[in-house]
């Protein structure tokens, strides 16, 4: 099963919705329009099925399913160390594990585009990877975790997700636009922006 979307304003990025027929799990395949020629959707679906759950994921996915059966879970996210930064999401579920359980990598569109720049120019949305759109905002993260859970466990009923607050450092890295504070009141006793008091104005700079 496949459906295709082309992101608005970014015509080079294409996502193909696929389903793992044996399990009902779903995932997107991201690629570029230039790669669509000769692309075999059936072969892509087979590749997604092969990659969807890796051997090392199986035991953890059992724990995650138990965690998601709880009424509420806490999700912690940590930004990666490279730019554009991905988020590494962990589920905290008391009674299931006393240590965080890795859920998936949450990737903004910028991260997907970065990965697509490398050969073979195809990115698979697996049980360990979830695209979350353009912004890594708290609402996008919660929505991304919900989308990830519904893809991996199609019949699951989502618990309430509590997003653990990010440390200040992470907030600055991921959503710098929220750090800009515009004040409507005039600034008082602010230090001068320039140390010289007699600097030329625009007309003087341009000359006669």
């Amino acid at each position: 099963m496949a459906a295709m979307n082309e992101s608005q304003g970014k015509v080079s990025l294409v996502s193909i919705n696929l389903q793992v027929l044996s399990t009902g799990q779903r995932g997107r395949v991201f690629t570029q329009t230039s790669e669509l020629t000769d692309m075999d959707i059936g072969a892509l679906a087979s590749e997604l099925e092969r990659r969807f759950v890796e051997e090392d994921d199986k035991a953890r996915l059992v724990l995650l399913q138990k965690a998601l059966a709880l009424p509420e879970v806490t999700v912690q996210t940590y930004p990666g160390e490279t730019s554009p930064a991905e988020l590494h999401a962990y589920v905290r579920a008391a009674g299931v594990s006393d240590t965080p359980i890795f859920a998936c990598v949450l990737a903004t569109t910028a991260v997907v585009e970065h990965l697509l720049a490398q050969r073979p120019h195809i990115v698979f949305e697996t049980a360990s990877f979830q695209e979350i759109g353009d912004q890594a905002s708290p609402s996008a993260i919660v929505a991304g975790i919900g989308a990830w859970a519904r893809r991996v466990w199609p019949r699951t009923t989502m618990p309430k997700i509590k997003l653990s607050e990010w440390p200040e450092l992470e907030l600055q890295i991921l959503v710098p636009q929220t750090r800009i504070q515009l004040s409507s009141a005039p600034m008082r006793e602010a230090p001068p922006a320039l140390t010289l008091s007699d600097y030329p104005d625009v007309e003087e700079l341009h000359g006669p």
Binding site: D40, A43, L44, S46, E47, E55, D56, D57, A59, R60, L63, Y78, P79, G80, E81, T82, E86, L87, H88, Y90, S97, T99, P100, I101, F102, V105, A107, V111, L115, Q118, R119, P120, H121, I122, V123, F124, T126, S128, F129, P167, L169, E170, I173
Partner: protein, 130 residues
């Protein structure tokens, strides 16, 4: 007379496989601690850059000369090192593990991860061609 398979170069060299970040699943993140790897996936140590990860994994897939590899096969490489590369199942990982796989649909790529010497995958997987 027994004919032994002729050893060639590694499969990335034979099949021109590209290195993959593998969705950054094994990349370090800010605030990473050993306990984050208790249930997998393994992660490289904080501060390990993508260039360093690529160099580690490229060295690993270049460490074994294999018989001719079929394009559809998955090939695993194991390279013990003398340093801690990351954490795996909550333990220090000194082994570099890499896998080369893929095919016509998505291109053939290799990626890797740090692996603890106690990891069950290390039982008889050296340079295995499946």
């Amino acid at each position: 007379m027994v004919t032994l398979p002729q050893l060639q170069t590694s499969c990335p060299t034979q099949l021109k496989c590209a290195w993959s970040e593998h969705g950054r699943k094994h990349f370090p993140h800010r605030g990473l601690k050993k306990l984050h790897t208790r249930h997998q996936p393994a992660k490289y140590l904080p501060g390990t850059t993508p260039a360093q990860i690529r160099a580690i994994e490229t060295a690993t897939v270049s460490s074994s000369a294999l018989p001719a590899v079929e394009a559809s096969a998955r090939t695993e490489y194991v390279r013990p090192t003398d340093q801690v590369l990351g954490w795996d199942e909550g333990e220090e990982a000194t082994v570099s593990f890499a896998e080369c796989s893929g095919g016509a649909a998505a291109g053939r790529t290799f990626h890797g991860r740090p692996m603890a010497s106690s990891n069950h995958k290390l039982r008889g997987t050296h340079g295995r061609d499946e």
